[in-house]
């Protein structure tokens, strides 16, 4: 091993801090043959000896140490930390990691709960808005949707075909419905009054309607083209003032045929128990 390489190992070698058996053997072997490196080792030893002598602490005296102790104890008393805080006794019971995990779990749970309640509130709000819009659109009733049972729909289709045939034979159009009323849904309806009684009513559950009120507006079909309702407004009493509720009820469908055969009024009214006929 060359001197340049040995010089780097000497600071550790002089105090026995050189790890590695091969390095120690190589340095020891080199020192047996190299006087310059041996001289360097002597210099290292001398500097270490000087350092130990210089860094020998003085005797500060008992008063010095007593002053330190008194100052420390006084400071502790001043800070009122002579007795550890009460919770410190139990600190050994708490695992810091467990506490962090528990608080993180709580935060995630709270976030999930708030998100769930927010989405649910949003859905309910949307439903309520839709009901209000529908109520405004139909102006007197608060239906949400109309569903015609299949048997009734089939009957209506037959009536419509019959009426279409009769209109075609008449060769003209009367009223605003007319032959050109192909776009008007009213024109396609037969001139009759139809109501859905409990037997014929659609078995549907919609917001704002109660099953008990399904037969609220019993009106016999009348081919005369006039409503049997003494007061058309009574037919609207199934509505609960146009306000939608969140209860699921049956819907009453009332069809009133006006004097104009091409004009028919269809009401879809909720049947609520508390609804009173308008006077």
């Amino acid at each position: 091993m060359k001197c340049t390489r040995v010089e780097k190992f000497l600071p550790l070698h002089v105090a026995g801090d050189l790890t590695g058996r091969r390095a120690r053997r190589a340095v020891t072997k080199h020192l047996t043959t190299c006087a310059a490196c041996r001289h360097a080792v002597d210099e290292y030893d001398a500097s270490r000896k000087l350092l130990r002598a210089a860094a020998l602490p003085p005797d500060f005296g008992g008063a010095f140490y007593e002053e330190i102790r008194n100052n420390v104890l006084a400071q502790i008393k001043r800070d009122r930390t002579l007795a550890p805080p009460p919770f410190a006794r139990f600190s050994s019971l708490f695992n810091v990691r467990l506490a962090y995990a528990a608080s993180l779990g709580l935060i995630i749970f709270a976030a999930a709960l708030s998100f769930y309640s927010y989405t649910r509130r949003t859905d309910e709000e949307a439903t309520r808005q839709k009901m209000i819009v529908n109520a405004n659109g139909q102006s007197s009733a608060t239906p949400v949707a109309t569903v015609t049972p299949p048997a009734v729909a089939q009957q209506e289709r037959k009536d419509w075909q019959t009426s279409q045939a009769s209109i075609g034979r008449a060769g003209g159009t009367t009223g605003e419905g007319g032959g050109r009323g192909a776009k008007s849904p009213l024109r396609k309806r037969p001139a009759r009054i139809e109501s859905l009684r409990s037997g014929a009513q659609p078995n549907l559950m919609l917001a704002g309607h109660t099953p008990s009120n399904a037969g609220r507006n019993p009106r016999a079909p009348n081919s005369a083209g006039t409503s049997q309702a003494t007061n058309p407004r009574e037919l609207a009493t199934g509505s609960n003032g146009g306000t939608a509720t969140t209860e699921l009820t049956e819907i009453s469908r009332i069809e009133i045929q006006t004097s104009d055969p091409n004009i028919r009024i269809i009401w879809l009214a909720p049947g609520t128990d508390s609804a009173q006929p308008l006077k």
């Binding site: 105090a15 860094a55 500060f60 140490y65």
Partner: protein, 238 residues
């Protein structure tokens, strides 16, 4: 295998203990010294537990048994009596404050050394900043180191000899002050406090390889400083 079950169990325990020591790099330490270290560890663990429970006398006992070592380390790191006193007080205040963080299986001496080194670093930094504001130069070159007059001087010794020694000592302490903080801490703990490189690494929170590198660099610098000292006629080597 020979021996009773208890003897074999003791041997197994001893083997496991030796393996642990080997892992910790303490295999070269004599058995008596290892036993003494284990007893010391238990002793301080008990004192800490009592102090944690609010026993003021236990904490005072801890101070009594460790204050000389703390003061000497602080003095070697900071170089003067007043700074060493302030640093020692801060060390014990921190020890009391962080008693809850001390684990019973830890080495209390090593933990105390770590706190001492950290406090001395903070104090040296404050002093450096304060001196830089006042003088515009680093205090470490000044050292803040006082002349050590407390060497036991024999009456028969030559006055010139004593003066020479005092001068050498002052210059060596100044040399120590010129070292970077990490190298100084490593050298003080290894060379002056007598800790092994593994223990020094545990105290400083670094690896043994890093500590050896720091010690090597520090010793080389001190050697160069001593050569200049002798060349300029600072004194004859001891």
């Amino acid at each position: 295998m020979c021996g009773t079950i208890e003897e074999r169990s003791d041997m197994a325990t001893e083997t496991a203990h030796l393996m642990a020591m080997m892992m910790a790099g303490d295999l070269n330490t004599p058995l008596a010294e290892r036993q003494q270290q284990a007893e010391s560890r238990e002793h301080f663990a008990l004192l800490v537990a009592r102090a944690r429970a609010g026993d003021a006398t236990a904490f005072e006992r801890i101070m009594l048994e460790t204050e000389r070592k703390v003061v000497s380390t602080a003095w070697r790191m900071l170089g003067n009596r007043e700074d060493a006193r302030d640093a020692t007080q801060e060390v014990y205040l921190r020890v009391y404050k962080y008693l809850d963080r001390f684990k019973p299986e830890q080495d209390f001496q090593g933990w105390l050394y770590r706190i001492t080194i950290n406090v001395c670093r903070d104090a040296a930094r404050k002093r450096r900043d304060a001196d830089a504001k006042c003088n515009g130069e680093f205090a470490s070159t000044q050292g803040g180191y006082e002349h050590n007059p407390a060497e036991s001087v024999s009456p028969e010794a030559d006055a010139e000899e004593n003066a020479l020694r005092a001068q050498q000592r002052s210059l060596m302490m100044r040399a120590l002050a010129t070292l970077p903080e990490k190298e100084r801490a490593a050298l003080v703990l290894r060379e002056l406090e007598g800790l092994t490189t593994e223990e020094v690494a545990r105290v400083l929170g670094s690896r043994p390889v890093t500590v050896r590198s720091q010690i090597s660099s520090a010793r080389a610098k001190l050697k160069i400083y001593c050569e200049r000292l002798l060349r300029t006629g600072g004194g004859r080597p001891a």
